[in-house]
Symmetry: D2
Subunit: 440 residues, 4 copies
């Protein structure tokens, strides 16, 4: 069991603005994690960004005085060949597709969002065929590599892989759990590593059902601390409202930031419709932020990850990924929050679905800490969301319009069968070129 | 095992406009079901209606030349004493409470309805304390009697009894299944008894997952027949729209009439808000219908159940009840659709919840035909609705505001935590006198 | 849905001594069940018996004045072609193989029995390849026919079909439940059709967990009646002992006749070892009985089923089969005890295993009445036996010696890993020609 | 969350010969675990041994130069008062009761053993009332203390507590898992801490279903290493035989030492009956070993744990206990093998049963790593053993003879209902004074 001494990282969607964080992560961990090559692959449309990011990455590494090679390329198969860890952070259709995912539902009076509602469903529809191709290549070119997916909707994409491809080494990642853990540590005035949480649910639909300080459950009094907090704990990319004390106490669980869409649907929609009219939907804002970031990245004197990156919603994503790579490599046995196959961890969700849970990370992969039955207060919401996700994944796989429309109908953010049909047709029209599985 | 030859029926809420149908049912079955007394009990506020109905009932029996005694009374304990079958068809707060259940949610921009959404939740809150009293009396005065509950929300009320009182002989009833069976028989152009359906779900939230003609599954072609139907198959009390072919085919199941509120929420709300402005919400319409019915009932020459009763939403309810009484008494082993404790019939719902399912009726009670796992396409919706119901029942039992507000938040028709809090407070204010369990 | 007016029955192993009972069954039901052809197929080694039985059958039909054609043949494919119902009552290796199944375990100091222990395991090993061939032919020649399996071990053979062949219309049958029901009716002094039982378990390992008289549960007092019975209620082919009152009351369930092997293992073994020495093991006795029966059958004046047949252990088997054929054909909805796929009927057994349970028989097949969780007192025994059966079926399918030896080890009647290996090798040696799936 | 700086240990059955190992354990861990008092309590009959052990313990501590007080006492309530950790290592009826547990079954031709078969059942019957008393005292005197039970049958005693007393902080311990882990490390030629195993089952009936070296699963090749081992890996107190390669490969799992009783029942029984005749049943041997040990312990010059202790079957038990105390105190998050409430860790065992599983140890207690469904090859055996255990616990709680006899019948080592009744009556007669719950 002697460990490999030269690790090859393959990053799909390497031209992403998040890449500098990823590279910083490997730099910070170089003592325990001997990365020797980081291949960044992108599509031709992303070549310019890719080059900018790769150069910045190399400058960061040079500054750190390390011997890591950054390889920007458009050749995905070459990138995957003999890779040890593959990370995916791609966006099919790029930022413009996201803007459509947001504006078209809005135009019909529906929530438009990147990973929730109709927008999230179509992001899944576009991503699944691409991820299936990547996995097929991995099965040929690097069958023993780990796939760390942080392409959104991360939970659904991971479940599509684990359910349909037979590839066993895929792990989904999200920055929401680590963000939550950090905010709670701040509320408690302690260091991050003294806080652990129990999660129940799936990616972007997870509840905190217990909080541990130095291993001891403090949920009862933490709810009070949480309710009395002054600061907004919502993530950057979500315009949050407070959940009512009655809701949190009645559930005995704390909803996550994304639950804003579900418990404040009406208010979120009102806000979105204003942004829609002002042409400031989130995708439009992000597009501007990204342009600014890449201007910064282009500065030949910049050789560190710029502070401005942290303002993007995805901050800590890449850090979580580097942590995971290191723990898998070193068999550390530490606890991380990951998207993994349920396999009975939560008794009342299907065995083959992907959940987001606290896992012990070993060289053999993450092993979830047992949860048992869902808290009855939140069980139905989670089961319903999971059922919707499974229908979406099935539609993404089969390309069946009936299944897709039903998935839209199952989504709690779409309150009309009529609009489910309509929003499908309109989003399909604009995204058709990315949806080869649908043959309508 | 010789059977009792003089059956005593106790009907709580005996002054209901449905009572003539119940009496007609016993008249029609008198050969196999020797009913000798029907006690109709009501509250003082309902005495006038009670007398009208009792007299009509006696005229119907006299016309049939039978020896059945109708006993109108305000004494519930006397009514229950030694009863063989108890039927409950009460409405706490009478029709005016219903109108508030509809108008107050409407005033906040929410669906207002008797058994769904905020209105249904408060109807449950008002009914549960009363039904607990009735069961307590039964445990003392007629512990071996069957309780046939058709007080709405019928599924939740039945589950409140089976989960919290230890009383084992409660069965819930709804006219929706038999209505569905009848409509399907009509669509197929055959007699009712040649058609059987498989149901999955709970009361007022049930899907048809299979249709059998002469015992043979015909679901595949039945969906086409159903989609090509000309006539509206929605129940009288619901203003229905067609479900889209994509939805029905994608689910592989046919939603029930009440699913109009869930799959056409936006459109139903629009329609309701118009009725709200015109003072024609359903309760207001029913109030008028009831007044007309009681005028008819008062006619001393009327000695049959008048045709006009069938226009009320509850038609066939009492007929279903008489069928059930007869099958329990005669151990017939025929199949009826009833609200019974799940006990593993549906593997992915809690064992102790109440489901609506096809049951073989025996002298020992109904035994559900096994179903197994829910169809995955509809599993989440049903689990979520059941989870909501369980939270509502818990709130009805405990009188805890946090639980109640959470139940409102879990309801798919309430899309805002803010409004969940608000609608609770407003409905609580007007119904307070009927909600002794809440001590706010 | 007009019903076919000319039913073709195909009976595999038609030369069995039980066939006259089957024919009698169809004669008695001819009014509701228009059988026009009964094909009896057997292997060349059974031709003589086949001819005797076919002639007797035809004489019985002629006496009844019916127009049913008996067709004896060695051509299985012709027999299956367009059949409506296929019954299997074959014995691979005939009676001599059974004698080996009994004597070889005995020679090692183990229980030897036709359907239990090492003998039953090897009967399954021999039968499964043949039944797979039959099913393959049916899928081609009569894909809509029902397969009624009463070849032992009936539960395992049926589960082999339902788990491995994709054929959905197989139903297993045993005479034990109807025999039990009859004995209980006798103990109660009432007619058979007033008694119903609840069964939990699988074929030949089933417990009675409730007894109903006219639909009413009487389990409590029935246990006392059962314990005070004078008569032996064990089946003809099992030498029974009484179960202790402590056992029956502690379990709250009545074991079946075959449980004699499991709860009286030591005493059964002692008895068998004496029979072994006297050359009177059950197979040897049956061989003699069969010879006598066929002498009787050969009498050209015999034109009814002879009384002597009832002394065979399998009495009422064929009657149960005819009942089932009639109920499937007529969609009667009556309750029969059948071996069917669990599908959640019993929550704590695998969904895809075959259980023996009370079913409503419809034209679409049997639907089990829901059971829920096993009684905890007997759950482990049933789960363990089912686990053993599944391992046996897997070994019968794969022909893997390790799996087979493990199955033997899992069997409660084999108390030594050493002997499990040894009895496998010895039985394999003598039955090798019937075990093509094993390639050792 | 500042940690207590003076830990009080309470050891029930403190006069046990294992106590020096326990004391050694605390000495070795004194840096991370500030134990200041170890109270050793015993019954009057054990006073002599208690004094010997206490003195030896104090000499060991003095030699180590630590400030830990050993307090020998007969006052249990004083011992428990404000204790932080309570360990139980008691034997009701002392070694002579064990000898009866072994010899009486033997005299009836049954396996006699301390924790298995009839002997184990009666040990549970005797221990449960005592442990309930202890827990009751703890709930009053040290409600926040952890109870570490290593009284056998450890799994059943722990489950009796968790199911019937409402006390949440009980953890069961056995030395078998750590012994297994150590033997496997030796077979692999690596250090203990590089090896991890996955266990499935309960205490003394656990299978190894996976082996990890440095976190990587090596089960496939480990089975070959295991089968080719030269050395006997069975525990000291069990006379082992090798399991056949067919069994291990067919199950895909390695049985534990105690499975010798179940897979080699016949051979174990033969061996025991010889020991029975020679008056060398295990209890008789142990009695002699104990006497020798206490002679050693009495030596005023002895101030370390003597090597001879390791020859007792329970070696490493106390070490495992000290490890657990330290990890609970320090919230280490390391993985230990413990007997804990299942709570869905194994999906196909009851939620409220106790299993033996790999757990992450936190200050809040052990959290089991999720397992999911049992391997189907061993599922039935484990379910059946657990079912037997639950029946035994129920009998131990209720004192119902029918339940007790049924539990004996459910045990795989008792192959006769007749003998189940007989062995109950004979063991009851001799142990009656310790069985107050039975009122026969």
């Amino acid at each position: 069991m002697s460990k490999k001494q030269h690790i090859k990282i393959a990053t799909i969607g390497g031209g992403s603005s998040y890449t500098p964080e990823l590279i910083e992560g490997f730099i910070l961990r170089h003592k325990q994690l001997p990365v020797s090559e980081i291949w960044l692959v992108d599509i031709p449309e992303g070549k310019n960004k890719l080059d900018i990011v790769a150069k910045l990455g190399q400058r960061m590494i040079d500054k750190a005085g390390l011997d890591i090679k950054i390889v920007p390329t458009l050749d995905r198969r070459q990138t995957l060949k003999n890779a040890d860890f593959v990370t995916t952070q791609l966006r099919v259709g790029q930022i413009d597709a996201r803007i459509l995912d947001e504006r078209i539902p809005n135009s019909l009076g529906l929530i438009g969002q990147e990973t929730n509602g109709a927008g999230g469903i179509f992001k899944a529809f576009r991503t699944v065929p691409v991820i299936f191709d990547i996995v097929k290549d991995m099965q040929e070119l690097c069958p023993d590599a780990w796939l760390l997916n942080f392409t959104n909707p991360s939970g659904m994409i991971t479940e599509a892989i684990t359910r349909y491809t037979g590839f066993k080494k895929a792990i989904g990642l999200c920055n929401l759990p680590i963000h939550t853990q950090k905010k709670y540590a701040d509320l408690l005035g302690v260091k991050l590593d003294r806080v652990r949480v129990e999660l129940q649910g799936g990616n972007h639909f997870v509840f905190v059902t217990d909080v541990f300080l130095d291993g001891v459950s403090i949920m009862g009094r933490f709810i009070d601390i949480y309710l009395n907090k002054k600061e907004d704990t919502t993530m950057k990319n979500i315009s949050g409202m407070d959940f009512s004390p009655a809701l949190i106490k009645g559930l005995g669980a704390i909803p996550c930031s994304y639950h804003n869409y579900y418990f404040h649907t009406r208010e979120q929609l009102d806000k979105q419709l204003k942004d829609f009219e002002n042409n400031t939907v989130r995708g439009e804002v992000v597009k501007k932020v990204e342009e600014d970031l890449f201007k910064l990245y282009s500065d030949p004197n910049l050789n560190i990850k710029p502070k401005e990156l942290e303002l993007r919603g995805g901050a800590m994503y890449s850090d979580a990924a580097c942590n995971l790579v290191s723990s898998l490599y070193n068999n550390t046995g530490d606890i991380q929050y990951l998207d993994v196959v349920n396999n009975g961890t939560i008794s009342d969700l299907p065995n083959d679905c992907v959940i987001e849970a606290a896992c012990v990370v070993t060289a053999n992969g993450p092993i979830p800490l047992n949860i048992g039955k869902l808290k009855p207060e939140i069980a139905g919401l989670i089961q319903q969301m999971k059922s919707f996700e499974r229908m979406t994944i099935k539609a993404a796989k089969t390309g069946d319009r009936n299944t897709a429309v039903s998935a839209l109908n199952l989504n709690p953010l779409i309150d009309s069968d009529l609009l489910a049909n309509k929003v499908f047709d309109e989003l399909y029209k604009v995204h058709k070129r990315y949806l080869p599985q649908f043959d309508l």
